[in-house]
Subunit: 237 residues, 2 copies
């Protein structure tokens, strides 16, 4: 706003405006470093920094050798990778940070054919899947349920306390993207039991799928009680 604002911010704000108001639609290419340098009369450092900030915000994506492009779907959590790597359930890391003792246990079993899950993993219904059921507890009380489905040949070593990402990596599969969809709903009876839910309490349902390139390799349903679920976070402006 003021003239003393860092110059890279001018670039960031101008491009951001163009993206949010639609003049740069999804998929549109962003000017390259060299072009930005000329267009906004800034140094290369500022141009690079602007692109890096926009990429970190999830608004654009850089493709090596090609250029930067407006993302199809804005990416809400580009920089929170670390809190997802060691836990199949979100918020567990946050709860730990809040000083609560989080523990979890799980067991795996083969799963019968489930059209919905097969569709999510884009495999034939006959493909054998491994279903792993997790219960998360905070200070002893059940906090979250997670049900994870993986193709059976990939699901080795689920008994180990290793993250999915690390396990897949051992198979030569590199997880490149996680897609989550969140909504709330009425709990199923089994869920009410497992979570020790009071009558009438709803749950947050997170449907998460791990992708390796354009192939889904794991999908899970995470169920979080609405009354016990309370996340507090802050952001510096």
């Amino acid at each position: 706003m003021a003239t003393s604002d860092p110059v890279y911010l001018r670039v960031v704000e101008d491009i951001r405006r163009q993206i949010t108001d639609g003049s740069l639609p999804p998929g549109a290419p962003i000017p390259s470093r060299a072009q930005l340098t000329r267009k906004y009369q800034v140094g290369e450092t500022a141009a690079r920094h602007a692109l890096r900030v926009l990429a970190a915000e999830g608004l654009i994506i850089g493709r090596v050798g090609s250029g930067h492009y407006v993302r199809e779907r804005p990416d809400l959590t580009p920089l929170h990778r670390w809190r997802y790597l060691d836990h199949p359930a979100p918020f567990a890391a946050d709860l730990q940070a809040q000083g609560r003792r989080v523990t979890w246990d799980w067991h795996s079993e083969p799963t019968e054919a489930d059209p919905d899950i097969s569709r999510r993993l884009r495999v034939k219904e006959s493909t054998p899947l491994t279903k792993t059921f997790y219960v998360y507890r905070g200070d002893g009380r059940p906090l979250q349920l997670a049900t994870s489905y993986e193709p059976m040949e990939l699901a080795t070593h689920t008994e180990e306390r290793r993250s999915l990402v690390a396990r897949m990596y051992a198979h030569g599969i590199k997880i490149t993207e996680i897609v989550e969809s969140v909504h709330t709903r009425v709990p199923r009876p089994a869920e009410s039991d497992a979570l020790d839910l009071a009558a009438g309490v709803h749950v947050l349902h997170v449907e998460r799928t791990h992708w390796a390139g354009d192939r889904p390799v794991e999908t899970s349903d995470i169920v979080i009680p609405g009354d016990r679920f309370r996340v507090t976070y802050s952001m510096p402006v």
Copy 2:
């Protein structure tokens, strides 16, 4: 992991590990650029980049002239600033990005004494507050409700389509932090009406407070229907 990994990542991962395993507790100072350069035998660029990444992740905070420190509360949304500046309600920007036409209207009125709100704003119960009620619609259908409370003398110009942050800035108040707490609950009758909720549907309740330094200057309750609320986001790993 591989030796070909960028060197700054080695620094990031080592510091991150120390923070998550507790050897660097909240408030602890992170070595400075110069110290990191020596300690990890990397260039200054790599050291700076590592600190920038950790700061962007919300794990550490940099204080000019002083140093970087482990944050007390990990910051979940450092880089999503932009999506909060123009909307008092979260997800509105995301819905727009999904191609839905989001509109909203609002009206302000003075509010009677409310101990709970006064407590949240840390003002005496006698302090006059302005209450602004927002309704967000996506393609005509009600999507979210928001009720915002501000001290009356700050709440001028709420009739303008300006963001809270910009309005406060005009008062010389710089919003430095936003704290949100999220849980789900049963909707109140008025909310069911306004949101056109089917029976039995629960809502997401977001309690948001804008802080200027250590002083809360606005607080709002945001209500989101559980059935209509569906956010999908992706993250590159």
